[in-house]
Amino acid sequence: LVLTLVLSFFDQFLSPTFLGIPLIAVALALPWVMFPALPSQWLPNRQLLLQSWFINRFTQQLLLPLNTGGHKWALLFASLMLFLITLNMLGLLPYTFTPTTQLSLNLGLAVPLWLATVIIGLRNQTTVALGHLLPEGTPTPLIPVLVIIETISLFIRPLALGVRLTANLTAGHLLIQLIATAAFVLLPLMPAVAALTAVLLLLLTLLEVAVAMIQAYVFVLLLSLYLQENI
């Protein structure tokens, strides 16, 4: 009985369907209606102003350490950031599905983009890109071992990028569901403990809001760092 209860907590991450429509398609398609196109006015409304300010400042800050070649990636990074932060934040609403909890989506974003940075580096500055595999000042006997270690760490990067986002959001959603279930179950039995659990749930939800934003930012920031090494 306990085993089935525990396993059913993961069911929230099953790609849901409703009336034959895979809801992940809806979750991926609908959020962008919240970002309407700017009308040709000097001063748009408050929402558009906030959104355009955010995109502008974020892109500017992200592109600061990149050289001119890296600025070609500005649109992609801004799109990716908007994509991830919107999906993460919307997933915190009740009864929504978070597509970024799906490993397929996160790995599908991380691997091609990481591979693009590596290929750019190897194509344009082969020696420098290969030189990243050996840190400066390594004692000579350690060189083979260190090259192997650095190669492994290079190939771990896309996996880490994808799994980090998936794991953070999955764990957060699981915790929310667990603690909410606990508060709900405890309510008729021990109301005081249930109230404390509800307070814990509130704090956890605040944490998950922060995690949602931070994880989206970390994903894009790390990609920009990988690009910085290679461009």
Binding site: L28, A37, Q51, S52, L82, P99, G108, L109
Partner: protein, 55 residues
């Protein structure tokens, strides 16, 4: 873990990239930040003033 079920993996991958490449950049590019605001002022408003049909 349901995330590890391989069935919808490719569909989700393709669909997410379609959204990321086709939908979002167009929306982001629409956020223009004109340096020379006088260019916006060159777009004249409509010359037709409002009229009441019964007068």
């Amino acid at each position: 873990m349901p995330q590890l079920l391989p069935t919808p993996w490719f569909t989700i991958f393709i669909y997410a990239w379609m959204v990321l490449l086709a939908v979002i950049p167009l929306k982001i590019l629409s956020y223009v930040y004109p340096n020379h605001n006088y260019l916006r002022g060159l777009q004249k408003p409509s010359e037709h003033s409002w009229f009441w049909p019964w007068s």
